[in-house]
């Protein structure tokens, strides 16, 4: 009986220690979720319906979280279904290229200020301007070779898919 009780305490202590170890990682994950704000007031010629706005916001946020995951883990799997066409090809090439050279990238503390500037009359294409802010870390193996807080402007084209909006073009520009 004593032995059982002792082993039970040890198990409980291990469990607490594991929780304590995992807690910072969990809080880091929460911090790393991209913050996205979408302004559709200037969208033309068609105004953006509120359901569409919510869907775009959800899918854009998800796409950037997965972009970060793909470029950090050098895996193309997180990219599938969220990017299409040119954006998908570029990001897949970037991951493959990183993988080949032992490089990885992290996009931390992302904040995206999105503005819809064009919404096609038939609702089959939207152009967004994203003023993105994040900490860009580039690593060669485990060595950090670049760590900088950057503000990057992206021209984004999204089209509706079967059940989500997908990013077709994600092109950084010096200014809008």
């Amino acid at each position: 009986m004593m032995d059982r009780s002792h082993s039970g305490r040890v198990t409980a202590l291990i469990a607490i220690a594991l929780i304590a170890l995992l807690a910072p990682r969990d809080s880091f994950s929460a911090d790393s979720t991209p913050q996205v704000v979408l302004n559709t007031s200037k969208a033309a010629p068609r105004s953006v319906e509120s359901l569409t706005e919510r869907a775009i916001l959800r899918d854009y946020k998800f796409a950037w979280a997965n972009l970060d995951q793909a470029l950090e883990s050098n895996s193309t799997a997180p990219l599938s279904g969220l990017f299409a066409g040119t954006a998908s090809a570029w990001l897949n090439d970037a991951v493959t290229s990183q993988q080949r050279n032992g490089i990885s990238s992290r996009y931390l503390k992302q904040i995206h200020q999105l503005e819809a500037v064009f919404y096609a009359p038939e609702g089959d294409l939207i152009e967004l301007h994203d003023t993105a802010e994040y900490d860009l870390q580039i690593l060669d193996g485990s060595k950090t070779i670049h760590d900088e807080h950057v503000v990057v402007r992206y021209v984004v084209l999204m089209t509706p898919g079967a059940d989500r909006w997908v990013i077709r073009q994600l092109q950084a520009v010096p200014e809008f």
Binding site: G85, I103, F118, P121, E122, I145, H146, E148
Partner: protein
């Protein structure tokens, strides 16, 4: 357009190391030797880089270093000699966007720059709808996006010519300048059914994309019916059904015939075939027959008892 930063590898030569003893000095010399006598590099980004055009990055210093290029679809490293230009091939820079060049010796230096899209060579042209009823306001729309040969969206303003050509009528042209890489138009559908050719072309460049919108008759404008009794009942049919601009309504459009015989009502849906809808109704007494299609009601036909 470009910026230079001294990044994370902060182990640069410190003036304090000159003041310490010979042991530390020796260690520093060994360190320098290990780095191939490399000095901190300074980088100058390519000016006005264009996608798909070879370019170079100017470096200062001497010795060897590891060079990294991180771009929209590239991430590679290679050994370079400082003090020499680092050449970037057309393939390295074929995607428009932000690039980061990093050179690492003991510390890392970086410079960011943008590659602009090249000249447009193709147009993505979306036209809706594929079938449009005639005489409808702002029924047809088109969106054109110019891309360069590397599929970069050309953001700088370009002039797109839209041309709409319908059978037996003069072509209509519109010239639109792209804004943020997009030119668009919308227009009303014509008065006559038939194919409408919609073309978008880029000025000065032999790029033209064509789409076809099939303009079809709109809803029926009016219905006129006639009928007669036969041994099997009453046969009714419409006169040729047309829309308000005189186009024959497409076959398959449904006309609903209704016969009221006292308190009884008999309804038959009949599709238009070769411009006319026909139906057979069963009624022996006096009957009032009407027809409807969409929102249009036809004349009433009164027939006496059999």
């Amino acid at each position: 357009m470009w910026s230079s930063t001294n990044t994370v590898c902060k182990s640069r030569k410190s003036p304090r190391s000159l003041r310490v003893g010979s042991l530390v000095l020796s260690a520093s010399l060994v360190c320098l030797a290990a780095m191939g006598y490399a000095q901190d590099a300074d980088l100058r980004a390519p000016s006005a880089a264009v996608a798909g055009t070879a370019n170079s990055i100017v470096t200062t210093g001497n010795g060897t270093a590891t060079f990294y290029l991180i771009g929209p679809s590239v991430a590679f490293k290679r050994e370079v000699r400082l003090g020499q230009e680092i050449s970037l091939t057309a393939k390295d820079l074929q995607n428009a966007g932000k690039y980061l060049a990093i050179v690492c010796t003991g510390s890392c230096q970086s410079v960011g720059f943008f590659a602009a899209p090249a000249k447009p060579v193709s147009l993505t042209f979306l036209v809706h709808p594929s079938r449009a009823p005639v005489g409808q306001n702002d029924m047809i729309s088109g969106v054109a996006l110019p891309f360069d040969e590397f599929h970069n969206l050309v953001i700088v303003p370009e002039t797109v010519d839209f041309q709409l050509t319908a059978k037996d009528s003069a072509a209509v042209s519109r010239r639109v300048t792209t804004q943020d890489g997009i030119a668009w138009f919308h227009t009303s559908s014509g008065r006559a059914a038939g194919p409408l050719q919609v073309a978008a072309s880029l000025n000065d460049i032999d790029v033209s994309v064509r789409r076809v919108v099939q303009q079809v008759a709109s809803d029926p404008c009016s219905l006129h019916i006639k009928g007669q009794r036969t041994p099997k009942g009453i046969v009714v049919e419409t006169e040729p059904v047309r829309d308000c601009t005189g186009n024959p309504v497409p076959d398959g459009t449904v006309v609903t015939f209704t016969a009221r015989d006292g308190n009884e009502t008999d309804t038959v849906d009949a599709p238009i075939k070769q411009g006319v809808a026909r139906a057979q109704l069963a009624a022996s007494g006096p009957v009032v027959i009407s027809a409807a299609s969409g929102v249009v009601m036809g004349n009433e036909l009164r027939l006496g008892p059999q």
